[in-house]
């Protein structure tokens, strides 16, 4: 384990307000906590700008990255983040299916802990799986995406990216659109929590079959946080300050949710023509991986308004911040 002495003096603020041992969801994050993540990410961006982008903050900390789903960008992003903090990183790509799952998740997590892991970064196809891991793991669990439920680091990197692009860094009253397959999207769900927490005027848009349940969520407006749900893409994009397109997967056609990719692209694809309705400086985002020509036109993806590659860079900084804050919380608890 690292100690306080390992922290780069003056470079990174002490995580005084961070009390969470795990980061499993963003629903309970308060605005000051989100601000702390943002400030810590600023510091990590500074670290990344150094000639040698490495600090010893997590020296001696064993981080296991356990992915039950194929992923390149998120897995590598966590790995780079942990290594930049000088953690010892172990990567496990686990095969998973509900039928032939072999060893149970509980046994796998106990084994990982017995092998000395202090922190567990986990991606899993079942919503809620990180809560099961956190129940048995003695260290910290960082949810790297679970089913359709949550993707905390993605939502926080999206927020960081949006703040860096909006004047004054404020989302208050800004119109932000999430466009596409929100039904199956953990990115959309986590963004609902963080973006509404920051006061954005959030719009959720897609074909009605892919919005299922979100009307009920919007009607409750959890904890007083309102957002708008619509299948009218033109209404959604009108005067938008930010638009985030989500990936459409081919399986959606097989299950009868959509007629065809072609029809989706024609009716909901983010094209330059559609973007004309938005604010001229509208920020274009996508969590990746993209289906160019389906949910986002190729020329939009590389348009100057697109921040898609910035999202990737910010992803490393946000994940460094999260690993750092969680390690600090473990210290505060006496490493329990």
């Amino acid at each position: 384990m690292s100690t306080g002495a390992d922290r780069p003096q003056g470079a990174i603020p002490a995580p005084v307000h961070w009390a969470h041992r795990h980061l499993l969801d963003v629903d309970a994050l308060t605005r000051p906590e989100i601000d702390l993540v943002m400030r810590t990410t600023d510091e990590m961006r500074d670290v990344l700008a150094r000639p040698i982008p490495k600090v010893p903050a997590l020296r001696g900390v064993a981080v296991t990255i356990l992915f039950y789903e194929a992923s390149t960008r998120t897995r590598v992003s966590f790995e780079v983040a942990a290594k930049n903090l000088s953690a010892d990183v172990v990567n496990i790509a686990a095969a998973s299916s509900s039928v032939s799952k072999g060893e149970s998740l509980v046994d796998t997590v106990r084994t990982i802990e017995a092998l000395g892991a202090d922190m567990l970064v986990m991606r899993h196809p079942a919503s809620g799986a990180p809560y099961l891991a956190a129940e048995v793991f003695g260290g910290s669990v960082l949810n790297g995406g679970d089913g359709w439920h949550a993707h905390p680091s993605q939502a926080l990197l999206d927020l960081y990216t949006i703040r860096s692009r909006l004047p004054g860094g404020s989302l208050e009253g800004r119109k932000i659109v999430i466009l596409g397959d929100v039904l199956h999207s953990r990115v959309a769900r986590s963004n609902v929590w963080t973006l509404t927490a920051m006061g954005a005027d959030l719009w959720i848009c897609g074909p009605t079959t892919l919005l299922r349940g979100f009307e009920a969520w919007a009607a409750h407006g959890a904890a007083g946080r309102r957002f708008t749900v619509t299948s009218d893409v033109d209404a959604a994009l009108r005067d938008a300050d930010v638009v985030m397109a989500l990936r459409i997967q081919k399986e959606r056609m097989a299950s009868g949710l959509l007629p065809s990719l072609r029809e989706y692209a024609a009716r909901y694809g983010l094209t330059k023509a559609r973007l004309r309705a938005a604010n001229p400086d509208c920020v274009v985002m996508h969590p990746g991986p993209m289906n160019e020509g389906v949910e986002i036109a190729a020329d939009v993806a590389v348009d100057p308004r697109s921040v898609i590659t910035t999202q990737v860079t910010n992803g490393v900084a946000v994940r460094m911040a999260l690993l750092y804050l969680l390690a600090g919380a473990r210290h505060a608890e006496g490493g329990s």
């Binding site: 629903d27 509900s98 899993h124 439920h149 979100f214 009607a219 959890a222």
Partner: protein, 470 residues
């Protein structure tokens, strides 16, 4: 749990004073029951000073409870439950009659499996009456009818493919007609599987926020409407045909049942203790009763907004089929009990092992272990004003008995001169639901750790002690 009592006759001259509820005679009030050699020799309704201090909030004397729907897992999955542990759970819960569902391995689809179960119940030494539902289709596969006549001769009390609906409308039609001629009901598990593939939680606000695949209300309501339409068709030719819908969980489906009853169709239904008392917000981490989760307008409150989330989310003991519903649906289950749309409260006691439950939420097996908490949960609904006590007890005794049409002498009542078949409950005392307190092998209940009012002191089945706390 205290040591189970030696099974045998009650000592001479046992006298119990308490608040008796006897749906058969329609009487409720202070009473004194006298039991000699297992016979309820005298049932005295007290008045005046003799009745003073005896209230519904103290000792209750009730006819032995009847459960239309339980899973004892034997043969085939004795790690989860056996007939012996299931009978002990029933007795501990105040049930003197339990009807077993046929989704064992092998399924109860022919007389030889009935004989096997009967052998085990006889060998158990428990006086709890175990009745058996046979499968509707061979192997519960939904393709061809089971050996229904043979099963009827072997004494089954109904037919069900529970765990799954009878998918084929044609098979359901034939089953209703064939079983009707045998004088037996078809007990259907209403679910349209094309709407519920991979479903994890009731479709709506909570499932959406948690990213759980939704089980829409329409899957139950549509299936109920279809089955009722088929029944209406069958009864024209086979007036004795009867349909019972089990674990109905939604307002929409209950409305269909209500309308069918009003039209005079021979349909009955039951609701479970968990669907009337718990809601989907428990999966998010709330732990309040369904009636506490309603706002003044009768809508579901928002657990994320009002600080109701007190436990970690995704507790797999809450994974059950049909799934826990919204607070208004739970309220509709109580309303259906009040107005008689629901005839019975059935536990759907579904014990499972830790291995099958301590996994990811969506991969956990469906089911709640319910026999031992059913009565306290229903009493909680009564205490909250959701249900009159008499109606609650009716739904746990004469209601389910009427679905069984008096088969096997199931006639709940506090009748003097007959073998005592009753339960004595102390509603003034609470107990904590723990793994150790449960006689069932199935510790899979979301009520684990919760304190419940209503301690069963004594269960007498057919004049013999099935359970005693003393």
């Amino acid at each position: 749990m205290s040591e189970p009592a030696r099974v045998g006759d009650v000592a001479d001259g046992l006298v119990i004073r308490g608040w008796a509820v006897d749906p058969e005679s329609g009487r409720e009030g202070a009473a004194e029951a006298t039991i000699h050699d297992g016979i309820l020799t005298r049932m005295t309704w007290l008045t005046g000073t003799a009745a003073q201090g005896i209230e519904p909030g103290g000792i209750l004397i009730l006819p032995g409870l009847v459960d239309l729907h339980a899973h004892f897992r034997e043969p085939g999955n004795e790690d989860a439950e056996t007939i012996v542990t299931g009978m002990a759970a029933a007795a501990h819960g105040g049930f003197t009659t339990a009807c077993l569902m046929p989704n064992t391995t092998p399924a109860i689809d022919e007389a030889s499996v009935v004989a096997l179960v009967r052998g085990a119940t006889a060998a158990s030494g428990s006086p709890v009456r175990v009745l058996i539902h046979g499968a509707v289709t061979a192997g519960r596969k939904g393709d061809t009818l089971s050996a229904m006549g043979e099963l009827a001769d072997a004494g089954v009390v109904g037919f069900s493919d529970d765990g799954a609906p009878v998918r084929s409308a044609s098979i359901l039609r034939n089953a209703l007609a064939y079983a009707g001629a045998l004088g037996l009901p078809v007990i259907d598990h209403p679910e349209d599987p094309s709407l519920t593939e991979g479903a994890e939680a009731s479709e709506g606000y909570v499932a959406t926020v948690l990213g759980l695949k939704g089980w829409p209300v329409a899957a139950e309501a549509g299936s109920v409407a279809r089955s009722i339409a088929i029944l209406a068709d069958v009864v024209r030719d086979v007036p004795a045909a009867r349909l019972h819908l089990t674990h109905v969980s939604t307002a929409a489906a209950l409305d269909h049942v209500r309308a069918a009853k009003a039209a005079g169709l021979p349909v009955t239904c039951d609701v479970t203790p968990h669907h009337l008392s718990l809601t989907d917000e428990w999966i998010a981490g709330a732990r309040r009763w369904a009636w506490q989760a309603l706002d003044a307008q009768g809508r579901a409150r928002d657990p994320w907004a009002d600080g109701a989330l007190v436990a970690p989310p995704f507790d797999t003991s809450l994974r059950v089929n049909p799934p826990l519903r919204s607070a208004p649906d739970a309220a509709a289950c109580l309303a259906a009990l009040r107005d008689g749309t629901a005839d019975a409260i059935a536990t759907d006691h579904a014990p499972h092992t830790e291995v099958d439950k301590h996994v990811e939420f969506g991969w956990a097996i469906n089911g709640i272990s319910g026999l031992e908490t059913a009565l306290p949960v229903v009493l909680a609904a009564v205490a909250a004003g959701g249900l009159p006590l008499a109606r609650a007890i009716e739904a746990l005794t004469t209601g389910p008995a009427s679905v069984l049409a008096g088969r096997d002498g199931v006639r709940p009542g506090l009748r003097a001169g007959e073998p005592a078949d009753l339960v004595v409950v102390d509603t003034g005392t609470s107990w904590t639901v723990t793994a150790e307190a449960l006689a069932s092998k199935g510790k899979n209940t979301p009520l684990l750790g919760r304190s419940l009012r209503g301690v069963v002191r004594l269960t007498l089945a057919g004049g013999r002690v099935a359970y005693t706390a003393d």
